[in-house]
Symmetry: C2
Subunit: 147 residues, 2 copies
Protein backbone atom coordinates (compact mmCIF):
# COMPACT_ATOMS: atom_id res chain seq x y z
CA UNK A 1 0.00 0.00 0.00
CA UNK A 2 1.52 3.32 -1.03
CA UNK A 3 1.59 6.29 1.34
CA UNK A 4 0.00 9.68 0.97
CA UNK A 5 3.12 11.49 -0.18
CA UNK A 6 3.77 8.92 -2.90
CA UNK A 7 0.24 9.21 -4.23
CA UNK A 8 0.33 12.98 -4.25
CA UNK A 9 3.62 12.93 -6.09
CA UNK A 10 2.13 10.52 -8.57
CA UNK A 11 -0.81 12.83 -9.20
CA UNK A 12 1.59 15.70 -9.68
CA UNK A 13 3.55 13.71 -12.25
CA UNK A 14 0.36 13.14 -14.20
CA UNK A 15 -0.32 16.86 -14.38
CA UNK A 16 -3.24 16.56 -11.98
CA UNK A 17 -3.91 19.03 -9.23
CA UNK A 18 -3.45 18.27 -5.59
CA UNK A 19 -6.72 19.79 -4.55
CA UNK A 20 -8.09 19.67 -1.06
CA UNK A 21 -10.98 17.28 -1.93
CA UNK A 22 -8.66 14.86 -3.68
CA UNK A 23 -6.31 14.80 -0.74
CA UNK A 24 -9.22 14.10 1.57
CA UNK A 25 -10.41 11.20 -0.54
CA UNK A 26 -6.93 9.76 -0.90
CA UNK A 27 -6.36 10.09 2.84
CA UNK A 28 -9.62 8.27 3.53
CA UNK A 29 -8.52 5.43 1.28
CA UNK A 30 -4.92 4.95 2.28
CA UNK A 31 -5.60 3.84 5.82
CA UNK A 32 -7.53 0.86 4.53
CA UNK A 33 -6.02 -2.58 4.18
CA UNK A 34 -9.19 -4.50 3.39
CA UNK A 35 -11.56 -4.14 0.44
CA UNK A 36 -14.15 -1.39 0.76
CA UNK A 37 -17.19 -0.38 -1.19
CA UNK A 38 -17.88 3.05 -2.60
CA UNK A 39 -20.69 3.43 -0.08
CA UNK A 40 -18.39 2.78 2.88
CA UNK A 41 -15.91 5.28 1.57
CA UNK A 42 -18.62 7.82 0.93
CA UNK A 43 -19.99 7.72 4.44
CA UNK A 44 -16.48 7.88 5.93
CA UNK A 45 -15.75 10.96 3.87
CA UNK A 46 -19.02 12.60 4.77
CA UNK A 47 -18.03 12.38 8.41
CA UNK A 48 -14.63 13.89 8.04
CA UNK A 49 -15.36 16.36 5.24
CA UNK A 50 -19.09 16.85 4.65
CA UNK A 51 -18.59 19.45 1.95
CA UNK A 52 -17.15 16.97 -0.51
CA UNK A 53 -19.60 15.92 -3.19
CA UNK A 54 -20.49 12.38 -4.10
CA UNK A 55 -19.39 12.86 -7.69
CA UNK A 56 -15.91 13.86 -6.55
CA UNK A 57 -15.56 10.66 -4.58
CA UNK A 58 -16.46 8.54 -7.59
CA UNK A 59 -14.26 10.62 -9.85
CA UNK A 60 -11.32 10.18 -7.51
CA UNK A 61 -11.94 6.46 -7.19
CA UNK A 62 -11.95 6.22 -10.95
CA UNK A 63 -8.78 8.26 -11.14
CA UNK A 64 -6.94 6.08 -8.66
CA UNK A 65 -8.03 2.94 -10.44
CA UNK A 66 -6.68 4.35 -13.70
CA UNK A 67 -3.40 5.22 -12.02
CA UNK A 68 -3.12 1.71 -10.64
CA UNK A 69 -3.23 2.84 -7.02
CA UNK A 70 -6.56 1.11 -6.49
CA UNK A 71 -7.98 -2.03 -7.97
CA UNK A 72 -11.60 -2.65 -8.56
CA UNK A 73 -12.44 -6.20 -7.58
CA UNK A 74 -15.55 -8.22 -8.16
CA UNK A 75 -17.26 -10.03 -5.35
CA UNK A 76 -20.44 -12.06 -5.29
CA UNK A 77 -22.25 -9.81 -2.88
CA UNK A 78 -25.98 -9.86 -2.52
CA UNK A 79 -28.13 -7.18 -4.02
CA UNK A 80 -26.40 -6.89 -7.36
CA UNK A 81 -23.67 -4.80 -5.74
CA UNK A 82 -20.49 -6.50 -6.68
CA UNK A 83 -17.78 -3.87 -6.80
CA UNK A 84 -15.27 -3.28 -4.12
CA UNK A 85 -12.07 -1.28 -4.17
CA UNK A 86 -8.72 -2.22 -2.81
CA UNK A 87 -5.57 -0.17 -2.31
CA UNK A 88 -2.64 -2.09 -3.70
CA UNK A 89 0.78 -1.70 -5.13
CA UNK A 90 1.22 -1.46 -8.85
CA UNK A 91 2.28 -4.38 -10.96
CA UNK A 92 0.57 -7.59 -11.87
CA UNK A 93 -0.50 -9.72 -8.97
CA UNK A 94 -3.56 -11.38 -7.53
CA UNK A 95 -5.44 -11.08 -4.31
CA UNK A 96 -6.24 -13.56 -1.64
CA UNK A 97 -9.06 -12.34 0.54
CA UNK A 98 -9.94 -13.69 3.96
CA UNK A 99 -13.54 -14.79 4.41
CA UNK A 100 -13.26 -14.13 8.13
CA UNK A 101 -11.78 -10.68 8.53
CA UNK A 102 -11.40 -9.35 5.01
CA UNK A 103 -7.62 -9.17 5.20
CA UNK A 104 -5.96 -9.14 1.82
CA UNK A 105 -2.70 -10.74 0.83
CA UNK A 106 -1.12 -10.49 -2.56
CA UNK A 107 0.39 -13.37 -4.41
CA UNK A 108 1.94 -13.99 -7.80
CA UNK A 109 2.12 -17.65 -8.61
CA UNK A 110 3.26 -16.84 -12.09
CA UNK A 111 4.87 -20.19 -12.74
CA UNK A 112 1.86 -22.26 -11.74
CA UNK A 113 -0.57 -19.92 -13.46
CA UNK A 114 1.57 -19.88 -16.58
CA UNK A 115 1.50 -23.64 -16.66
CA UNK A 116 -2.27 -23.65 -16.29
CA UNK A 117 -2.67 -21.17 -19.13
CA UNK A 118 -0.36 -23.22 -21.26
CA UNK A 119 -2.44 -26.33 -20.70
CA UNK A 120 -5.65 -24.53 -21.55
CA UNK A 121 -4.11 -23.14 -24.73
CA UNK A 122 -3.05 -26.62 -25.79
CA UNK A 123 -6.46 -28.12 -25.08
CA UNK A 124 -8.61 -25.42 -26.61
CA UNK A 125 -6.45 -23.79 -29.30
CA UNK A 126 -7.43 -20.40 -27.89
CA UNK A 127 -4.72 -17.80 -27.51
CA UNK A 128 -5.03 -16.57 -23.93
CA UNK A 129 -4.78 -12.82 -23.62
CA UNK A 130 -5.81 -12.11 -20.06
CA UNK A 131 -7.06 -13.62 -16.87
CA UNK A 132 -8.98 -12.76 -13.78
CA UNK A 133 -8.09 -14.79 -10.72
CA UNK A 134 -9.13 -14.22 -7.17
CA UNK A 135 -8.83 -16.60 -4.27
CA UNK A 136 -10.81 -16.44 -1.07
CA UNK A 137 -10.05 -18.33 2.08
CA UNK A 138 -9.20 -17.90 5.70
CA UNK A 139 -6.11 -16.19 7.04
CA UNK A 140 -3.96 -17.82 9.73
CA UNK A 141 -5.38 -15.59 12.48
CA UNK A 142 -8.97 -16.43 11.59
CA UNK A 143 -8.15 -20.13 11.39
CA UNK A 144 -6.67 -20.01 14.89
CA UNK A 145 -9.57 -17.99 16.21
CA UNK A 146 -12.01 -20.39 14.58
CA UNK A 147 -14.03 -17.59 12.98
Amino acid sequence: MPDLAAVLERLDQEGLRLTEPRQQVVAAILGRTTPFTSAELWTAIQERAPSIGRATVFRTLDLLVRLGILQRIHADAEGGRCHAYLACDAGHHHHLICNGCGAVTDFTEDAALGELIHQVERHTAFRIEGHRLELVGRCPACQARGS
Copy 2:
Protein backbone atom coordinates in the same frame (compact mmCIF):
# COMPACT_ATOMS: atom_id res chain seq x y z
CA MET B 1 -25.82 -25.84 -22.96
CA PRO B 2 -28.97 -27.66 -21.85
CA ASP B 3 -32.07 -27.77 -23.99
CA LEU B 4 -35.55 -26.48 -23.26
CA ALA B 5 -37.04 -29.85 -22.28
CA ALA B 6 -34.23 -30.54 -19.82
CA VAL B 7 -34.65 -27.18 -18.15
CA LEU B 8 -38.39 -27.57 -17.86
CA GLU B 9 -37.96 -31.00 -16.37
CA ARG B 10 -35.47 -29.58 -13.93
CA LEU B 11 -37.91 -26.88 -12.85
CA ASP B 12 -40.56 -29.54 -12.38
CA GLN B 13 -38.24 -31.58 -10.17
CA GLU B 14 -37.69 -28.55 -7.97
CA GLY B 15 -41.42 -28.18 -7.47
CA LEU B 16 -41.51 -25.04 -9.56
CA ARG B 17 -44.24 -24.29 -12.03
CA LEU B 18 -43.78 -24.33 -15.74
CA THR B 19 -45.56 -21.10 -16.34
CA GLU B 20 -45.83 -19.40 -19.68
CA PRO B 21 -43.62 -16.43 -18.72
CA ARG B 22 -40.90 -18.72 -17.41
CA GLN B 23 -40.93 -20.76 -20.55
CA GLN B 24 -40.62 -17.62 -22.61
CA VAL B 25 -37.64 -16.40 -20.61
CA VAL B 26 -35.95 -19.77 -20.69
CA ALA B 27 -36.52 -20.02 -24.44
CA ALA B 28 -34.99 -16.59 -24.94
CA ILE B 29 -31.92 -17.67 -23.01
CA LEU B 30 -31.28 -21.12 -24.38
CA GLY B 31 -30.50 -20.01 -27.91
CA ARG B 32 -27.55 -18.04 -26.63
CA THR B 33 -24.02 -19.36 -26.66
CA THR B 34 -22.23 -16.15 -25.71
CA PRO B 35 -22.54 -14.07 -22.54
CA PHE B 36 -25.45 -11.67 -22.43
CA THR B 37 -26.53 -8.88 -20.13
CA SER B 38 -29.87 -8.58 -18.43
CA ALA B 39 -30.63 -5.58 -20.64
CA GLU B 40 -30.08 -7.56 -23.84
CA LEU B 41 -32.30 -10.31 -22.60
CA TRP B 42 -34.97 -7.86 -21.51
CA THR B 43 -35.21 -6.18 -24.90
CA ALA B 44 -35.27 -9.55 -26.67
CA ILE B 45 -38.13 -10.68 -24.48
CA GLN B 46 -40.06 -7.48 -24.95
CA GLU B 47 -40.07 -8.10 -28.67
CA ARG B 48 -41.31 -11.63 -28.51
CA ALA B 49 -43.60 -11.37 -25.48
CA PRO B 50 -44.30 -7.75 -24.49
CA SER B 51 -46.63 -8.70 -21.66
CA ILE B 52 -43.84 -10.16 -19.54
CA GLY B 53 -42.76 -7.88 -16.72
CA ARG B 54 -39.25 -6.82 -15.96
CA ALA B 55 -39.36 -8.30 -12.48
CA THR B 56 -40.18 -11.71 -13.89
CA VAL B 57 -37.14 -11.61 -16.12
CA PHE B 58 -34.88 -10.85 -13.18
CA ARG B 59 -36.59 -13.42 -11.02
CA THR B 60 -36.14 -16.07 -13.68
CA LEU B 61 -32.51 -15.13 -14.19
CA ASP B 62 -31.99 -15.47 -10.49
CA LEU B 63 -33.77 -18.79 -10.45
CA LEU B 64 -31.69 -20.22 -13.26
CA VAL B 65 -28.49 -19.07 -11.60
CA ARG B 66 -29.55 -20.82 -8.39
CA LEU B 67 -30.32 -23.99 -10.33
CA GLY B 68 -26.91 -23.88 -11.96
CA ILE B 69 -28.32 -23.50 -15.46
CA LEU B 70 -26.90 -20.01 -15.78
CA GLN B 71 -23.77 -18.52 -14.36
CA ARG B 72 -23.35 -14.91 -13.50
CA ILE B 73 -19.95 -13.73 -14.64
CA HIS B 74 -18.11 -10.53 -13.93
CA ALA B 75 -16.66 -8.47 -16.70
CA ASP B 76 -14.87 -5.15 -16.64
CA ALA B 77 -17.44 -3.34 -18.70
CA GLU B 78 -17.73 0.43 -18.74
CA GLY B 79 -20.43 2.25 -16.87
CA GLY B 80 -20.33 0.24 -13.70
CA ARG B 81 -22.26 -2.52 -15.40
CA CYS B 82 -20.26 -5.62 -14.80
CA HIS B 83 -22.67 -8.53 -14.75
CA ALA B 84 -23.30 -10.84 -17.60
CA TYR B 85 -25.08 -14.17 -17.72
CA LEU B 86 -24.03 -17.31 -19.45
CA ALA B 87 -25.87 -20.55 -20.10
CA CYS B 88 -23.69 -23.43 -19.07
CA ASP B 89 -23.78 -26.99 -17.93
CA ALA B 90 -23.75 -27.76 -14.26
CA GLY B 91 -20.67 -28.78 -12.37
CA HIS B 92 -17.55 -26.91 -11.47
CA HIS B 93 -15.69 -25.48 -14.38
CA HIS B 94 -14.33 -22.22 -15.69
CA HIS B 95 -14.94 -20.16 -18.75
CA LEU B 96 -12.71 -19.03 -21.53
CA ILE B 97 -14.23 -16.14 -23.40
CA CYS B 98 -13.16 -14.96 -26.84
CA ASN B 99 -12.29 -11.28 -27.07
CA GLY B 100 -13.18 -11.34 -30.76
CA CYS B 101 -16.58 -12.99 -31.06
CA GLY B 102 -17.64 -13.67 -27.48
CA ALA B 103 -17.62 -17.43 -27.94
CA VAL B 104 -17.33 -19.33 -24.70
CA THR B 105 -15.46 -22.54 -24.05
CA ASP B 106 -15.40 -24.38 -20.78
CA PHE B 107 -12.34 -25.84 -19.20
CA THR B 108 -11.42 -27.58 -15.98
CA GLU B 109 -7.71 -27.59 -15.37
CA ASP B 110 -8.21 -29.00 -11.96
CA ALA B 111 -4.75 -30.46 -11.61
CA ALA B 112 -2.94 -27.27 -12.54
CA LEU B 113 -5.27 -25.11 -10.50
CA GLY B 114 -4.97 -27.44 -7.55
CA GLU B 115 -1.22 -27.14 -7.70
CA LEU B 116 -1.47 -23.36 -7.83
CA ILE B 117 -3.75 -23.29 -4.82
CA HIS B 118 -1.44 -25.62 -2.98
CA GLN B 119 1.52 -23.33 -3.61
CA VAL B 120 -0.39 -20.29 -2.45
CA GLU B 121 -1.45 -22.10 0.71
CA ARG B 122 2.12 -23.00 1.48
CA HIS B 123 3.39 -19.49 0.88
CA THR B 124 0.68 -17.60 2.72
CA ALA B 125 -0.63 -20.03 5.36
CA PHE B 126 -4.15 -19.15 4.26
CA ARG B 127 -6.63 -21.99 3.87
CA ILE B 128 -8.11 -21.50 0.42
CA GLU B 129 -11.86 -21.98 0.35
CA GLY B 130 -12.86 -20.76 -3.07
CA HIS B 131 -11.64 -19.22 -6.28
CA ARG B 132 -12.80 -17.16 -9.16
CA LEU B 133 -10.97 -17.73 -12.41
CA GLU B 134 -11.83 -16.46 -15.84
CA LEU B 135 -9.64 -16.45 -18.89
CA VAL B 136 -10.13 -14.27 -21.94
CA GLY B 137 -8.42 -14.73 -25.24
CA ARG B 138 -9.04 -15.33 -28.88
CA CYS B 139 -10.66 -18.42 -30.33
CA PRO B 140 -9.12 -20.29 -33.27
CA ALA B 141 -11.59 -18.82 -35.76
CA CYS B 142 -10.90 -15.25 -34.66
CA GLN B 143 -7.15 -15.88 -34.75
CA ALA B 144 -7.42 -17.12 -38.34
CA ARG B 145 -9.67 -14.25 -39.33
CA GLY B 146 -7.28 -11.79 -37.69
CA SER B 147 -10.09 -10.10 -35.75
